[in-house]
């Protein structure tokens, strides 16, 4: 096995919280102490950081391979500096049995980057019967979630959480009071009123957060509240964290960098779930990221084909692709002064790896050499047709961005090199 020494690198270490010039040595797929090596790569003073661990990627397999396959998603991830995709179970059929999980795992070998899978929490994500949490965990499911389908029956949810707790399984929930959210396509307020679009109050998120946290407190389950996007939702979360509950929280890059006004004249690429919020909410979430209340940023990569988006706003499918734009979009948070690079990398890499019990997210000796080399200042204008994803539904089409991935390694192997074109 060859060894490589990466020299003249600006090392972004989220664990130590440091941003320093130095060297990193790779041997046999792992990070080792610096020393002589067969190959030397001069990083030219660019940033070298642990690869991104993206929690909540939708790949269209099984069921919608025309929107995204593990092969294309893997390429997009590699180009975006993502070395681990944690995939969602909201496929067709739903990943809710050891057999469907096995199928997805087999298909996932076509990906250039590491793939882990989440399972549904209830069969068919229908909110009635719990899945075989034990078997699924043994088969490799790293977390359990019904995603945007909120389990409305609190008795069912309570039993699921109690059972999951006994297996030390992580449950991921999207907080939303479904009654209030029914039929809504944007956040209620001035914009929704002027555009005549059905809106949901941010209150729906707060009620979802409060309900879920009450059950977490009662059951003691390890819980990740995904997609906390409003100031109203952050308040109960802060209280729960202060009380010492085993709860973490995440948000999507789109909610950190865009707001409801970006929908403008019914631009369906900006239709996401939950809907984009006000600028005040966006800033509140960015602040929560900086102070650690929000642990994890994800791309919420949701590929949709052109036909699903070329429709009136209310009829268009929700979701946006994000694997390749996660890093440059996140750099906006650094340029705006919300966070520094090591703090950002905690949310992109270290925290999700830790929460899911995965190796990675660190530059420590012995850790897998899952790395990304990037130029944080390189400017470009995004052209959606250049994306490696099969689906091109990005809200950043035509946007000026900064931050280019130069090279990505998974287990010491180069999976993307910009120099190769």
């Amino acid at each position: 096995m060859t060894s490589t020494l990466l020299t003249n690198a600006r090392l972004i270490d989220p664990e130590a919280g440091t941003d320093t010039l130095g060297e990193l040595r790779i041997e046999a797929g792992r990070i080792t102490a610096p020393g002589p090596a067969e190959q030397v790569v001069d990083c030219g003073g660019r940033c070298l950081a642990p690869g991104i661990v993206d929690l909540g990627v939708k790949v269209g397999e099984p069921g919608e391979r025309h929107k995204e396959s593990f092969h294309t998603a893997g390429q997009a991830a590699a180009r975006g500096g993502i070395t681990t995709m944690v995939c969602r179970p909201d496929t067709i059929p739903v990943i809710d049995s050891p057999e469907t999980l096995e199928h997805a795992r087999t298909r996932a070998t076509h990906s250039a980057v590491r793939v882990h899978h989440m399972s549904a929490l209830t069969r068919g994500r229908a909110g009635r019967e719990m899945v075989e949490i034990g078997f699924l965990r043994d088969a490799g499911a790293v977390a359990f979630t019904d995603g945007t389908h909120v389990v409305t029956d609190t008795k069912v949810l309570s039993r699921c959480l109690t059972y999951a707790r006994s297996l030390r399984a992580l449950v991921v929930g999207h907080p939303q009071e479904p009654g209030l959210a029914r039929g809504a396509v944007v956040t209620s307020g001035k914009f929704a009123s002027l555009r005549g679009l059905p809106g949901v109050s941010p209150l729906a998120e707060r009620m979802g957060v409060e309900r879920d946290l009450a059950l977490v407190e009662a059951t003691g389950v390890a819980y990740h509240l995904d997609q906390v996007t409003t100031a109203a939702g952050l308040a109960p979360l802060r209280r729960a964290r202060a009380a010492g509950l085993d709860v973490t929280a995440g948000t999507s890059i789109h909610h950190l960098t865009l707001n409801v006004l970006d929908v403008a004249d019914y631009r369906t690429f900006f239709k996401v779930t939950p809907p984009l919020r006000t600028e005040d909410d966006r800033l509140a979430v960015a602040e929560a990221l900086a102070d650690g209340t929000i642990d994890i940023i994800s791309s919420m990569h949701t590929p949709q084909d052109e036909e699903s988006k070329r429709l009136p706003f209310e009829e268009a499918a929700p979701g946006a692709v994000g694997l390749e734009t996660l890093l440059p979009a996140a750099m906006r948070l650094v340029s705006a002064g919300h966070v520094d690079l090591p703090t950002l990398w905690r949310a992109l890499s270290l925290n999700p790896a830790r929460r899911l019990g995965l190796a990675g997210g660190t530059l420590a000796k012995g850790a897998p050499a899952d790395l990304v080399l990037f130029d944080p200042d390189a400017p470009f204008v995004l052209d959606r047709w250049t994306l490696a994803s099969k689906s091109k539904n990005t809200p950043f089409d035509g946007a000026r961005m900064e931050g280019r991935v130069l090279r990505t390694w998974v287990g010491g192997e180069t999976v993307y090199d910009r120099a190769d074109g």
Binding site: G189, K190, S193, R195, G196, L197, S201, L311, E314
Partner: protein, 309 residues
């Protein structure tokens, strides 16, 4: 001055464009009254009415307006057509576009659908109502009716009453009246009020007496049957008691205040039948008459811009 390619809403219009539209409509209204009904402004042009939502009145009004100006008018009942076969809105639009129409009149149940369609075709598109978003010709005909009754559009107090939340008529009207520097009050139960409209600088109240006080114009909106059954308001009779317009509530407005309704009316739900028929107060029939004139004006001006393009 009128520089628009399409009439998608009131929002994109400049106040002088609104005035231009109304002046031209006034000209057509007078001509109609003289019995001089036919013109040739649209001679040789093809007008297609695409209605994805049922409408008798608006469709008839656009059809008459087109025919009076010499256009070849075709009506397409879209519920019965290709959408049932799974064709998307954009494909339908492209198909019709290939037939080279000059004017496309579109009504659709979803907000923004007409904007989407306008991006894909070469002809002039007129929004005949999209979801809860806008219904620009309705607001223009209301404005013309008001201007004829009051002699101006500025410094008036206009109370818009009823189901504001689901109303594209209310949206277009409040945008237009704001642009023309009149004062708008929205009156209705809070369950039928859009969120945060007060922040747009509009007065909002759930008290008819307060809302109608010293109003020059009282505009009633239709309450859809499906919203009367306890979902948004407790009952039809409670709604009529609190928000239905009758002589007693109208007494809070100015003595010469006019009463308007975009139709079709629910007599005894949002408006007292006798009041609706009172020729001294109600301008409801004139609104319908002005509808034809405004649509002639809009299509005439858009056709002129089409010729220049």
């Amino acid at each position: 001055m009128f520089t628009q390619r399409h009439l998608l809403g009131i929002e994109p219009l400049h106040p002088t464009e609104i005035t231009t539209l109304l002046d031209r409509a006034e000209h057509y209204a007078e001509a109609q009254r003289r019995g001089d009904k036919h013109g040739d402004a649209l001679a040789g042009l093809t007008q297609i009415n695409m209605f994805f939502e049922n409408s008798t009145r608006t469709q008839a009004s656009f059809e008459i307006a087109g025919k009076r100006l010499g256009a070849d008018v075709m009506n397409m009942a879209m519920q019965a057509s290709s959408l049932k076969k799974g064709e998307t809105l954009i494909d339908t639009a492209l198909t019709l576009n290939a037939m080279r129409p000059d004017l496309l009149v579109v009504r659709h149940p979803h907000s923004g659908a007409v904007n989407l369609l306008a991006e894909k075709v070469n002809c002039a598109v007129l929004n005949a109502g999209d979801g809860r978003h806008e219904h620009p010709t309705q607001a223009l005909l209301d404005a013309l009716t008001i201007r004829r009754a009051k002699g101006r559009l500025h410094r008036l107090t206009v109370a818009i009453c009823g189901d504001i939340a689901h109303s594209r008529v209310a949206r277009s009207n409040l945008i237009l009246l704001g642009k023309m520097e009149s004062r708008v009050r929205l009156v209705g139960p809070p369950t039928l009020m859009p969120s945060e409209v007060a922040e747009l600088g509009i007065e909002v109240t759930d008290d008819m007496a307060e809302g109608l006080r010293d109003a020059d114009v009282v505009m009633m909106l239709r309450l859809q049957k499906e919203r009367m059954d306890g979902g948004f308001i407790p009952s039809e009779r409670e709604y009529y008691h609190r928000f239905g317009l009758d002589a007693a509530k109208l007494a809070h407005a100015k003595p010469d205040a006019i009463v308007m309704h975009p139709g079709p009316m629910n007599r005894g739900v949002e408006i007292d039948g006798t009041l609706a028929d009172d020729i001294n107060r109600s301008v409801i029939q004139e609104q319908v008459e002005m509808g034809v004139a405004v649509r002639m004006s809009a299509m005439d001006l858009l056709a002129q811009n089409l010729a220049r393009a």
